[in-house]
Symmetry: C2
Subunit: 346 residues, 2 copies
DNA sequence: TTGTACGCGTTATCAG
DNA sequence: CTGATAACGCGTACAA
C-alpha cells in the first residue's frame, strides 16, 4: 500500500480496454461501437469482457467530436414546474428514450432574451434536435434573431421543432387553440351563459392571444355583450390575482369566467372562493389544457383538453422524420364539468 | 449561383475565427475562453469581432475533451410530470443556471434497473455532478451495483448528491419525513381524530416507508387503534384507487385518511367524493409535500410542507461545495387546512 | 479480419 | 504576448 495515489483516477479509455483484451484500439472500437460487423467473434467477446471488467464507458464527448454528431435532444421550456411544460417534457423524454437519445432541458423563464441566449449556447452542444416549447412571445425584437439562429443550426444539419408556434419556417407541432376556445365558447352559450370575463396574459404571448381570440370568435353573432377582459400573469398566481381584481370591481354582471389556461383557472377559483364567491354555483369557471388537476378541484373544471404528452411525442417524431418543415396540428376537445353547470335562462 | 452547395454547412470553428481575425488559433482560443488575460486587447477585440461576424459557438464536446471536464449537471428523477420532482428539478435548474451549468434530465420511471442503467450511461457524458432524486427503492438487488457505479464516478472526480436517501456514502439532501409525519399525527390527534387509514406505497419505497413509520410513531402511546394500512401506487391514480377500495370495505370506522404524499391524497379526495363521501366533512384527509395544488383543492389539503425547490437548490450547492459527503437535512412543517377540521370529541 | 495513422475542435505547454 | 505543437478519446480510411 505504499505510494498509493487517491487522487482522481482517470476513467478507463478505449486504449485500456484494447490493451486488456490484447488487440488494437481500432479493433476494440469496432467491437464495441463499430457499425460494420467485421471483427472476429473471439476477439469481439474478449473486448466485451475487458470492457465489462474495467467498467468502461465510452466518452460521449469524444465520440461526438469524432463522429461529428451527438445523441442529444435539447428541449427549451418556460418553466419545468408548470404542468403544461412538464407534460410536454414527459412526452419528449419518453420518445427520446425509445430512440436512445438523451434529453437536456433548459428553462427560459418566459424571457425572449434568455430564450435566444439559450438557443445560441445550445448550438455549441451540437444536439441532434432542438425543440422549443412555446415560450415564444411575438414582437419582442429577438424573434428575427432567433429564427436566424435556428436556421443556421439547421443548415449545419440540426433538426428544429417548435411546439405551439405557427408561421415559422420549421417543423411545428401546433395546438388548435383557436378552434378549441371557439367551441368552448359555443358550449358555454349552449349551457345558458351569456356574460363573460376572460382572464388572459399579455397579448404578446401567442397561446394566450389565440385562445382569447378564439373565444371571442365563438361568441360573435350570439348577441351577447362583449366580455370583460382582464390581463394578468400566465400562471396560477396570475389567475388568483385577477380573480381578486374581478371581485373588487364587482361580479354581478358576469356569469362565467374563462381563463386561458387551467393553472390560471384553478388559481382564479381559489381566488373567487377566498372572496366568498363559490365557483360552479355563483359563477361558472372554465380553463384550457385539461391538466391532471382539473378533475381534482371542486367543482371539477370545465376545460379544453390538449394532448400535451402527445405533443411531446409528436415533436420528437417530427424531428426524426425527414420532413424539414411539416406542420402537425393536434386537436383539442371541450370537456364540460361541474364548474359550468347548465344555467337556466333568465 | 453556380456550384452552390446546399448540403449541411459545417459550423465555423476556432480555426475559421482565427483566420478571419488574422491571428493564430491559440490566440483566438485565449481571447475567447482563455483563463489568463494575457492577450493584447487589440487582438482580443479583433477576435471577438470575427467570432461575432461568423456567429461562432465553441464546440462544447471539443472543449470537454480538451479540458477533461464538462459544465453539465445530470439529474435523475422518477417522473418529470410529478410535481414533487418537477419542483426539485426547478430548484436544480435555477441553481445550475446561476453557475452557468447545463442540466440534463433522465427519467427512471421508478425502475431501479432503469435507474442503474441511466447512471451507468451517464458516466459516459462525464457530467460534473450527478444528482439522484429519490427514485431509489431498497432491497432491489441493484443497490450495491449503483453505489459501486457512483463511487467509481466520484473517484474519477465527479460529484454525487442524493436527494432523500440517507445512509449512502454520498452527499445527501434529506427531508425530515419521519419527523414531519410524526408531528402531523400528533396534530391530527390534537384535532380530535382517533381512527385512521394510511394510504402508502410499497414498503420498498423509502420515502413512503419513512412517512408511514413516522405517522405510526406519532400515534404511539396515544391509546388509539392501529391504523388501517392500504398499499397502493405512489401516484394520483394510486390514491384514487385506494380510496375506492377503502370505501368498498366500509369507512364507518375511519375518521381520517393520511396519504403519504399530496398527489395520492388529492386522488383519494376525488375517489372519496366520487363514492359520495365528502372529504373534510364526512372524513378527514391529509397528505405530505404541500405541492401548489394543495391549496387549490376543496377542502384545502392539510399536509406537511416540504421545501422541494429548495431541496434542488441545496443539492446543487452541496455538489459544488467541497464536502465530499455532507448530509443536509431540510425541515418539514405541518400545515393544517380545511380537509381536517377540528373534530368534536365523541 | 486487423492494425497504423490521421482527423475531429479545443486547450495547454513551451519556446520564441 | 504570441505561435507552433502536443495532447484529449475516439472513429475510420487506408494499407497490410
Amino acid at each position: 500500500m505504499i505510494g498509493m495515489d487517491d487522487g482522481p483516477k482517470a476513467p478507463p479509455t478505449l486504449h485500456d480496454v484494447a490493451r486488456e483484451a490484447g488487440v488494437s484500439i481500432a479493433t476494440a472500437s469496432r467491437a464495441l461501437n463499430g457499425s460494420s460487423r467485421n471483427v472476429r467473434s473471439e476477439n469481439a467477446s474478449r473486448v466485451r469482457a475487458a470492457a465489462a471488467k474495467l467498467d468502461y464507458e465510452p466518452h460521449l464527448s469524444a465520440q461526438a467530436i469524432a463522429k461529428g454528431s451527438t445523441r442529444t435532444v435539447a428541449l427549451v421550456v418556460r418553466d419545468v414546474a408548470d404542468p403544461y411544460f412538464s407534460s410536454i417534457a414527459a412526452g419528449v423524454t419518453q420518445a427520446a428514450q425509445e430512440c436512445r437519445l438523451i434529453v437536456t432541458m433548459a428553462v427560459a423563464g418566459g424571457s425572449p432574451e434568455r430564450e435566444l441566449e439559450i438557443v445560441r449556447t445550445l448550438r455549441g452542444r451540437r444536439p441532434r434536435v432542438i425543440i422549443v416549447a412555446g415560450s415564444r412571445v411575438d414582437g419582442s425584437g429577438t424573434r428575427g434573431t432567433l429564427v436566424e439562429e435556428l436556421t443556421e443550426y439547421r443548415t449545419a444539419g440540426g433538426r428544429v421543432v417548435l411546439i405551439s408556434q405557427r408561421d415559422l419556417p420549421f417543423g411545428t407541432v401546433t395546438i388548435d387553440n383557436r378552434g378549441g376556445a371557439e367551441r368552448l365558447a359555443r358550449a358555454l352559450l349552449a349551457a345558458g351563459y351569456r356574460r363573460f370575463a376572460v382572464l388572459h396574459a399579455q397579448e404578446r404571448i401567442r397561446t394566450s392571444r389565440e385562445r382569447h381570440d378564439g373565444f371571442l370568435a365563438g361568441l360573435r353573432h350570439a348577441g351577447v355583450p362583449e366580455p370583460l377582459a382582464i390581463e394578468t400573469g400566465f400562471t396560477r398566481a396570475g389567475g388568483y390575482e385577477a380573480a381578486r381584481r374581478l371581485v373588487e370591481r364587482g361580479v354581478a354582471d358576469v356569469e362565467a369566467v374563462f381563463a386561458v389556461n387551467d393553472v390560471m383557472a384553478i388559481g382564479a377559483m381559489t381566488g373567487l372562493r377566498d372572496a366568498g364567491i363559490v365557483p360552479g354555483r355563483d359563477i361558472g369557471v372554465a380553463g384550457f389544457d385539461d391538466i391532471d388537476a382539473a378533475v381534482d378541484v371542486v367543482p371539477a373544471l370545465t376545460t379544453v383538453a390538449v394532448p400535451l404528452r402527445e405533443a411531446g411525442l409528436t415533436a420528437m417524431r417530427l424531428a426524426l422524420s425527414d420532413e424539414e418543415t411539416a406542420d402537425h396540428s393536434l386537436p383539442t376537445n371541450v370537456v364540460l364539468r361541474e364548474s359550468t353547470p347548465p344555467r337556466p335562462p333568465t
